[in-house]
Amino acid sequence: MESHEASHEGGHDHPSDRRYIQVAAILAIVTALEVGTYFVEMPGEVLIPMLMVMMVYKFFYVAAWFMHLRFDSPLFTKFFVTGLVLATIVYGIALTVFEFWHKG
């Protein structure tokens, strides 16, 4: 497999294969850290926010680099984020109705 420098096409850069591999390595490390929390005793108040942060970090990394959102038109981001935000709001309300935050 050859490593190619970023090329210009259609007005935006394509990352090189080396860059993609670097991103995948970072994602693998974060995944390992996530799994590592399973083997370490820590209070839920610390563990859950830590897992959420790592989860969101991985999500943004995949969306930005592998799905090319950081290189493409902002309109694509807007459509995707609209669905994401709408889902978060709607199901946040649903979970609140079912008193998940108190009982869950």
């Binding site: 497999m1 994602l27 799994v35 998940f100």
Partner: protein, 201 residues
């Protein structure tokens, strides 16, 4: 054919963007609502395991971690397949497409093994509200992965027939968007369902 290629890159469209790509992003936005509903339902019902196994008693985190890693690496191979086709490297495009499909199949194999193990240990689809919500969520995700594998094989067949060229790389990109989304959903599922401490019996 030239007009199709021109339109596929956004020329002649109202937004200046590819309509096909825009449609995929809108679809993925709607998929957020689908999986949001399934994940929320699981969260509500995860404590309702009746007389059946509880999530904390039955999940095999090390095994699922390996599955997660496999799916994560399939996102890398998918983007390498696109990169190869964008520079006209047909051979490597085929290799990475096949590798992605194989990794996806490995993930599905892991899911099937996990499901059959759970059933053997007394967690069936109708055992409890927890089990129904779990199998529905992970089952839907598994179906999405399976459909993605079919799309990848379709691309591979097109490539072998000589119809998947550098000029049509957007097709691979659009399938790639679907594949990466499936991976992103699993990122959420793995963390929220498996890693966040679950109730035990």
């Amino acid at each position: 054919m030239a007009d199709t290629a021109a339109v596929s890159h956004g020329h002649g469209t109202g937004t200046g963007l590819s309509d096909n790509k825009l449609l995929m992003w809108v679809f993925l936005g709607s998929e957020c609502l689908l999986f949001g509903g399934l994940i929320s339902t699981y969260l509500i019902y995860r404590s309702r395991f009746a007389d059946g196994p509880a999530p904390g008693d039955i999940f095999d985190i090390p095994f699922t971690s390996v599955s997660s890693f496999v799916l994560l690496m399939s996102s890398l191979t998918m983007v390498l397949a696109l990169s190869a086709l964008q520079r006209g490297d047909i051979r490597n495009n085929r290799i990475w497409l096949l590798t992605t499909a194989l990794l996806g199949s490995l993930f599905i194999g892991g899911q099937v093994y996990e499901f059959t193990t759970f059933v053997r240990e007394g967690l069936g689809y109708t055992t409890s509200p927890f089990s129904s919500a779990f199998f529905t969520l992970t089952g839907f995700h598994g179906v999405h992965v399976s459909l993605g594998i079919l799309m990848l094989m379709s691309l591979l067949i097109s490539s072998l027939r000589g119809t998947l060229t550098k000029e049509r790389s957007e097709t691979v990109e659009i399938v790639g968007l679907y594949w990466h989304f499936v991976d992103v959903v699993w990122i959420f599922i793995f963390t929220v369902i498996y890693l966040v401490p679950s109730p035990t019996s």
